[in-house]
Amino acid sequence: MKTLSRGSRGALVPLALLALFTLVLIPGTALAHDVTPGDAGYIQEIWGVHVIPFIYLGAKHMITGYDHILFLLGVVFFLYHMKDVAIYVSLFALGHSVTMLLGVWFGWGINAYIIDAIIGLSVIYKALDNLGAFQKWLGFQPNTMAATLIFGLFHGTGLASKILEYQIAEDGLLANLLSFNVGVELGQLLALFVILIVMGYWRRSPNFMRQGTYANIIMAGLGVLLTYQQIAGYIAST
């Protein structure tokens, strides 16, 4: 720091030697403003249209978002035909795109803990659905396509809450948001590609149905864990 308008500069001369000495010991000088690192830090430093970076960020968000991936796994777990996979995944994509875009555009600030708890519930729902629990308990099968679409809407609201925390600049917001959405779908397709390979091998195994039962029970357990964590987080935050 250089004292300018009112400081005495002569006093600095003897300090110069000392400072040169300390300079050797301390290589960098810190600018201690509040640094936000990572994706949010990058987004908060830029403005204007950045199509490919936002596609990347959307895809990264989806692939690293284990709650979305878990739900996706539940949805395709017992879908053996590519046509069904395409229909259900499209319904999920439609659902989360609608609320993600509208949520960011209109700034629906829904508490992240609450929405993530609902996303946890969606994982429990899908696992129980796969296990045939609703037929057993309720005596009928709730429409699986409707459930996928409706939970998609909740997943999108969760995405919107996260994007709002990124504080994307107004300048270029719509193009960047659409790019992010494209990235989310791209990330979903990449994850789906890997899921379908693993499931393809697994389904050929003679033990698939028995192991599938355990897998869905575990999935329901993970859903409970996700929901519990979010509710605990919500209580701790209030």
Partner: protein, 203 residues
Amino acid sequence: MHNASKPKLEDLPTNAQLRRSSIIACIGAVAIGVMVYMPAELGKDPTGVGSLLGLTEMGEIKQQLAAEAAADAETHGDETSSLVNDILGLFVGTAHAQEAWQDQITFTLAPGEYTEIKATMEEGASLFYAWSSDGGRINFDLHAHADGQDVTYEKGRGKTSGEGSFETPFAGNHGWFWRNRDDEAVTVTLQLRGDYSAIVRDE
């Protein structure tokens, strides 16, 4: 038991298909890792694809922010570093401007460069300011921190002008972190008026 029946083998992809898909997935993963992930996260671009896609800049900014955050954590509250800054500080041209403003400071930042300009103030003091940029747009963080306290008055990005005032909640150096994220060199002219004893600049 399940909401589905056992899959029929003829409905499933064959082992040969699965093997082919696995190989594609592995190649894809390596390609994405090298051409997308490395530029976008680490700022390293061995193939040149990351720069083509505009992802290397993201990685470089992230690495820069991570380094700054680490340096912050290391030297926080370290008096020696401010002494170094005393010597390293670049000359800031000040001129006693017209009647209203006490100081006028002009500085130029090349793309990616940053600087900090702060006013040394007591608690409860006021500072009025106006600034404008020439040649491009600028990012800033108007803030202060001292003895474990901190305050953020205003943040902005891609701005070309600003004006306002603030009152300090605690004594210390209050002012701006400026960074040029534009493509061109940006010259900022900052005018100040208020109860401060000195202007300091970090480079």
